[in-house]
Every structure is written in C-alpha cells, then in structure tokens.
C-alpha cells in the first residue's frame, strides 16, 4: 500500500518528480524562500526590503557597493569626475544594453534619476531633492548638478530604488512596467510574477556582465510561516531561505544537509527613549537606564548567542564605525543611585512593544525585569507594528525598541535619521543637541574622507554621552541562511553588497550535493 501510494503520487505530481528525477535540469535555478512576496517592480514605488532584493537582481545602478561592503565601484557608470566644488558630477556611461537589446544611455540614467525625484508616486523624493539637474550631454555622458555639495551622494546612487530604467519601457506604460518590466538593466529579467507566491527571474543574456552570472534563473518564493519555510529547506524543496528564527539555528545546524551562514549585518535593535517625557529629559536618567540593562544577557537570550552587543549607532563592519566607543557597564546598584540623585527613584515607564514579534516581545520581558531591579516600573503596552510606529511618531511612548538596517553604504543616511534633527525628530526620540546637529550637517558636506571619519567619531562619542539612541541593544548576525543542496549565498541585506548575486556569489554556485 505504501509503495502503491508512493508510485501514484510520484507519477501524478510534478513536484515530487522534480525532487527525485530532474535535479539536472533544475540545477541552474536557485530557489530562495522569504517571508513576503514582492509588491511591485517599479523601484521608486517601494521602500520595502523584500522589493529591493529583487530590484537589485533585475536592475543595475550607476554606482555599486563592492563585495566587501565598504567601498563603491563602477556600475553602469564606467567612471566619473567630480568638480572641485563638489556640485557637478560627470558620469561616463558604459557600453551596456537592456534585456530588450536597446542601448543603456545617459538619457535613461537622467530619466531614472529625475523620475525618483519628481514622480508623485515616488516614496524617495525627499532623498533626491539634492539633485538640481540631470542632463544627458551626449548619449554616453550624464551630467548631474547638485543643489549643495554632498559626501553621501555617490552612495545614494547605489540604492536599488534609483536603478537605471529604460525610459522607453517605462514611458510605454508605468503600470504595466510595475507589473512585469519589459526591459531590465540587471543580471536577470522577470519571466513571471505569480502574485503572493513567487517571482520567477531568468538570466539576462544582454547583461553587461552576463558571463559572470552562472545561474539560469532565480525564484524568490514567499513562505510566510517561519517553520514551514525551514521545513521546505530541510525537505530540499527550497535551496535556501532567509529569516531563520534565532531559536531554530542551533537545531538546524545539526542537520548534515544544511549549512547555516551567519554574516555581519547592518541591523541594530535600538532602545528608543522619549526625551520629552518627564524625567527622561535628564541625561543622567537616560544613562542610569543604560546601566540598569544587562545588554549581554539580553543579546545572548534573544539571539541564542548569534548577536553581539552593539556600541555605536553606526553598526560594526560599516563605514566609519568607531569600535573604541565607550560602553556603559552593567551596574544596577549605581543605576539606582543615579536615578535617586536625579529625583527619579520611582520612575514609571510605558514601553510600547511590537506584538507578535518574537524578538521584540522577549526583549520587552527581559527589559522589564532588569529595569525593575533598578526600581523602575515598566508597563508593557503590546500593539501591532503599524500602531506602534504611529505611537512613536506621535511621541505617545516612554520607551520602545525598533530596529534599523542601512540602505546605503554611507553613514549619512542613518546619522541624519537618528541625529540630524530633521522632521523625523531623531528617530522619534525628540532628542536635541545643537552641537550634534551642526556636526551631522558639516559631515555631510565634508568631502575629505579622513576629516569626515574624524567627524563621525566625534558624533558617535557625543551621541554616546547623551543620547541612548547610541546604545543600540544588539547587532544580530542577521542574515542566517540555511543552505539546501547548493553553494550559494545571496546577500539580501540591501545595505551591503546589493550586487553580490550578480557576480561572485553566483560564481561560486555549484551543482547539488545530493
């Protein structure tokens, strides 16, 4: 009976067949499991990581981040010059083609850059307001004038959202393009998008580095449930998957068919403190809270030893990270004394927690216990992520934990958000320090890397002193990829190495092991 049942199902179901017989044909297609499916193929209309991973498979950018994740390298722009005042950038375009065979020109590049700035539907307009004009002076030369000098500008061009799109293809119909782009400038073209299920990509033979792309295709498959996604990898039905729950890593490592990769990520989980709420306005109180928290034990418990305690808002491994930054010691007794001295010995805090998020909920319980030992009463208010975001923007919280991943190589993006004193109220903390504010603005304009690094070290030290934002709780090694039957490591973290799969990593692709 078992055999007959087995035969019937194998004969009838292509999926089962594929697993047993046709590995050879499927060898060139990499299947990657992720939580959510894409939402669009128009890069300017999304700010979601899930989309950016696919954008960087399909579209190329003018300037790329290299595989070390610390330097920029030429992409579709073969080379560039910057005027001494830092206002004019002249890019020389490489000889490259879109997947439909038409040449990629400076006209397309200018179009893409102006579109992300001007389109009503662009979610990135504000980031590109720095662009004054972008003109194709000839088919191979793009001249960009900025409204003011900007050190992070080149880094910003590496963002998948500002990828070079075919002007002709987009203008033929924006909505159709967003559904299924007819021309791609990157390593793969979009063959099919089964909404809610998967994105099927096929190698783009016209890609200018097509000889370095060893895969025939990639399928990004949405499997929302963490356990189901892991079972798919264990059963060999997915080659690899991202977002492995911390709690499963140790067990999955024991599976001889799987390889778990842990990479340094730019994710940091921050403890946000509302500087406008009562005693929290005092620097000493914020420092005392930091000392009352045993960060090491939180990180070890929550990440099962995979994460590390972070000591700067610029994550370890990123440009201008200051490794020698001061770390407040864990000292609940001193914390208690400091709170008493600041007149906050019976501090009561409302902690807004993202309900349903395993990591956030665990951190919340641990923080509540630890702060309790220092005499701080913490009330946990669990709300869904969309609501907690709303409460943070409205300042309707005392403390909360949120995480950040870098979008670009340059530290300016995160620095502006957490310390730039702009409309985001410094990561919603309402933090104010004019010295820090001025330094952030000056560092953006400073074009000499050595001087700039020194400025960022100063910012990190200053922020460490009075803004607990700079006391991120943990920096987990975020991208944990159990590996199925193939040697492949995509780098889905959009901050670093957005181009990896187009090159080296696809280069290391090997046939299935089993």
């Amino acid at each position: 009976m078992t055999n007959r049942w087995k035969n019937i199902s194998r004969a009838a179901f292509a999926a089962a067949l594929m697993l047993s017989a046709s590995y050879a044909e499927a060898a060139g297609i990499l299947t990657i499991g992720r939580r959510e499916d894409s939402t669009t193929f128009d890069p300017i209309k999304s700010a979601q990581n899930v989309d950016n991973w696919v954008f960087s498979n399909v579209f190329d950018v003018l300037v790329r981040v290299d595989k070390t994740g610390t330097k920029l390298e030429p992409g579709l722009a073969e080379s560039w010059t910057i005027s001494p005042d830092g206002l004019t950038y002249t890019f020389k375009m490489r000889d490259a083609k879109f997947s439909d065979g038409s040449p990629i020109t400076a006209e397309d590049a200018a179009f893409s850059l102006l579109r992300i700035r001007d389109s009503k539907e662009s979610l990135w307009s504000d980031s590109y307001k720095i662009v004054d004009t972008a003109v194709a002076t000839d088919p191979k030369t793009l001249t960009v004038k900025l409204t003011s000098a900007s050190a992070p500008f080149l880094s910003q061009l590496a963002l998948p959202n500002v990828s070079v799109l075919s002007k002709k293809a987009v203008e033929a119909g924006e909505e159709a393009f967003a559904e299924l782009p007819t021309a791609s400038s990157g390593a793969f073209t979009v063959k099919e998008w089964r909404r809610g299920d998967r994105v099927i990509l096929e190698k783009n033979p016209n890609f200018w580095q097509a000889d370095r792309v060893k895969l025939d295709g990639v399928e990004w498959i949405s499997v929302p449930d963490d356990n189901t996604r892991m079972l798919n990898v264990q059963a060999g039905q997915l080659d690899t998957a991202i977002f492995v729950p911390f709690s499963r890593v140790a067990e999955l490592k024991k599976d001889p068919n799987l390889v778990i990769h842990t990479d340094v990520s730019t994710r940091e989980d921050h403890l946000l403190i509302n500087h406008e709420h009562g005693a929290l306005a005092k620097k000493e109180v914020r420092q005392a809270l930091d000392m009352a928290i045993d960060k090491k034990s939180i990180v070890d418990t929550v990440t099962f030893g995979i994460g590390t305690v972070a000591n700067s808002y610029i994550p370890k491994g990123s440009l201008y990270h200051y490794d020698a930054n001061y770390q407040y010691p864990y000292d609940p007794a001193k914390a208690k004394a400091m709170l008493a001295a600041a007149g906050a010995s019976d501090l009561k805090l409302n902690y807004v927690v993202n309900a349903g998020n395993e990591v956030d909920e665990q951190i919340a319980v641990l923080l509540q216990q630890q702060l309790g030992k220092a005499g701080v009463t913490v009330n946990l208010q669990k709300v869904d992520p969309s609501q907690s975001w709303n409460m943070l923007i409205d300042g309707d919280y005392d403390i909360s934990v949120m995480y950040w991943t870098n979008d670009i190589l340059d530290p300016d993006q995160k620095t502006t958000f957490v310390l730039g004193h702009d409309s985001n109220m410094n990561y919603m903390t309402r933090y104010k320090n004019d010295k820090v504010k001025d330094l952030v603005a000056a560092a953006r304009l400073e074009l000499d890397p050595t001087k700039r690094e020194a400025m960022y070290v100063d910012i990190q030290k200053l922020a460490k002193d009075d803004d607990p934002l700079d006391r991120p709780l943990l920096q987990p090694l975020y991208q944990r990829l159990p590996q199925g039957h193939r040697e492949f490591l995509p780098e889905p973290a959009r901050p670093l190495l957005p181009r990896r799969y187009g090159q080296e990593l696809i280069g290391s692709f090997a046939p299935p092991l089993s």
């Binding site: 049942w5 087995k6 199902s9 009838a12 179901f13 292509a14 999926a15 089962a16 697993l19 959510e36 499916d37 939402t39 669009t40 128009d42 209309k45 700010a47 009503k120 539907e121 979610l123 990135w124 307009s125 504000d126 980031s127 909505e175 967003a178 559904e179 089964r194 909404r195 809610g196 299920d197 998967r198 498959i221 949405s222 499997v223 929302p224 449930d225 356990n227 189901t228 996604r229 079972l231 798919n232 264990q234 059963a235 039905q237 709300v383 869904d384 992520p385 969309s386 609501q387 975001w389 709303n390 409460m391 923007i393 950040w404 958000f417 702009d422 409309s423 985001n424």
Partner: protein, 312 residues
C-alpha cells in the same frame, strides 16, 4: 414550483446585507490605530511625504466622502487602488481568488468524504465500540489547532516520507492538486469532526423514526433502510451546519493559507491589515461577505431540493 420562489426574491434581501457589511468594514478598518501613509513610508515618513500619499489615495478627505468614493468606485466595478501594491484592488483580488476557492472546495469535499462514512459507522453502532472510537477521534480533531496539525502533516508527509510538497501552490492542475492535499486535509480533519457529531445525532434520530420502522416492516434490508431513508432524512441539519462552517472557513483560511504558503485571499488580507492597506481590506472583506451570503443561499436551495417538506 412555488417552493422555489425564494430563489428569485431572496437575492433582494442580500443587498442591504452587503451594504451593511461595506459600511461596517469601511469604518472598522479605519478605527484600528495606525496610519497607511506613515506605514508605507516607514523611516521616510516626513510630513510632506505623508501629505503627498494621503492626497494621492484620498485619505485626507472626510470619512463620509471617502465612503462615497468607495461606492462610486464599486459602481464602476473598481475597488480603489492598493497603497501597498499600487494597483487596483479588484485586479489584485482576482489573482488571489483561485487558491482560496480551491482550498475551500477541496476541504469541504474531503470533510464530507470523511464525515459521512464515519457518522454512519457510529450511528449504526450507537453505544458500541466503533461509536466510541469515532467520538473519541472527533474530540481529538476539535482539540488540535490547525497550525500545529498542518506542521505535523508536513513533517510526516513531506519531510519524512517525501511524498507531497511542503507548501506553496504550483502552476499546473496536477501540481496544484498535490499542493492542496495537506492544507485541505488539515482543514477537513477539524471541519469533519463538527459534521460527524451533527450527522451522527441526526442519523440516530432518523434510525428510530417511523419512516425507518415502516421500511423495516416492509422487509427491507437494514443497509437499504439506512442509505435510502435514514441518510437523506438526516442531511438537512448537516447541510445548514456545513453552510455556516463554509462561511467560517472562507474567513478561516487565513491561518491555513499562511502555514501552507497558499497565495490566496486570506494571506492578502493579513498583509493588508498589517500595512493598513484600507482599500484591500475593504475589497477582500466584500468578496468574503458576498461568498458567505452566496454559500448560505445555495444551502437553502439544496435543503429545499433534498427535503420536500421544507418551505422557504
């Protein structure tokens, strides 16, 4: 034929029901704290960017005006534009109906295939061993949460035995069928327990009825008495129970779709709620509501057809 007159008049009663549901979902989804524009923009939620998004999607208008636009769109066969996916909601929903419909259909068929023989076995052996066995088994069926049951089935049939796909949907008919086996089994195992209980009770009742006694008096063999007289007479309450459960199932596919990564409307709804994609929540709720109303209508027709005594 007058027994079927309700087929013509009943749909008129649906209009106020659907209208009521549209008002309730429209208001409820806006009452959940959270903001679609802030959510979609994330860390880029500057006041100008938020205002821009709100204007684009009409979220800056008074709520009654937004509702009128929603009705106007419905009249034009549109459901507004999704803030997350940037396309028309109807266009989006249409791509997601099939997996949900297939899941509901296959689950119902499987439930009936499990429930009828089990209930018959129990009813014909009422109070004896097989009856107890069926009743104990069905108690377990109610106790297992679907997400856990689904995972167990996956581990057994997909990982250990390597017979069926773990999750997903597939492209061809056979492929889809293979992908539907485990999720519909998960649903059927809990749905059939409810049916078994109702059906067993009705069958025991019918076995004692005058119809059955009269049939036996005419010398009919017990198995014919059972299948020809008892079963049809015990179906009516179960059909209605099934209809109510299908209504519940249409909304309840959310969990099973997530566990088995079926790209259906349940998953679409969950993501839409989390991102406060109002238009999509409204659209999916409307489709679910219409489907539930339709299923109950069909159950009425079937009840009338099965039992000549019923008048509606």
């Amino acid at each position: 034929m007058h027994r079927y007159r309700f087929v013509l008049t009943r749909p008129l009663q649906f209009l106020p029901v659907i209208f009521g549901i549209s008002v309730i979902t429209f208001i409820l989804v806006r009452l959940i704290p959270g903001d679609p524009a802030r959510n979609i923009l994330g860390t880029r939620a500057t006041p100008t960017a938020i205002a821009n998004i709100r204007a684009q999607y009409g979220l800056d208008l008074p709520i009654w005006q937004q509702y009128l636009y929603f009705l106007k769109n419905l009249g034009n066969g549109e459901m507004g534009k999704s803030i997350l996916y940037k396309i028309d909601v109807l266009q989006l929903v249409v791509t997601r109906i099939e997996p949900t419909l297939a899941l509901v259909l296959s689950s119902v068929i499987l439930s009936v295939l499990i429930a009828v023989p089990m209930a018959a076995l129990a009813a014909r052996n009422a109070g004896r061993g097989p009856d107890h066995a069926v009743r104990i088994a069905s108690t377990f069926g109610i106790g297992f949460p679907p997400f856990w049951l689904g995972l167990m089935l996956m581990i057994l049939f997909s990982v250990k035995l390597d017979l069926l796909p773990v999750s997903g949907y597939g492209a061809t008919f056979g492929d889809k069928l293979a992908h539907l086996i485990l999720p519909s089994l998960t649903v059927a195992l809990s749905l059939s327990t409810v049916l078994i209980r109702s059906l067993r009770a009705a069958m025991i009742e019918a076995l004692k009825s005058d119809v059955a006694t009269a049939a036996r008096a005419r010398g009919m063999p017990e198995s014919i008495v059972f299948w020809r007289h008892v079963v049809p007479n015990s179906l009516v309450p179960t059909i209605n129970l099934l209809a109510v459960n299908i209504g519940w199932l249409i909304g309840g596919t959310v969990v099973v779709e997530s566990v088995f990564a079926l790209p259906g409307m349940g998953q679409l709804l969950v993501r839409a709620i989390f991102s406060r994609d109002y238009m999509v929540v409204q659209g999916v709720a409307m489709v679910f509501a219409c489907a539930t109303v339709l299923v109950n209508f069909m159950a009425d027709i079937v009840t009338v057809a099965v039992d000549p005594r019923v008048k509606l």
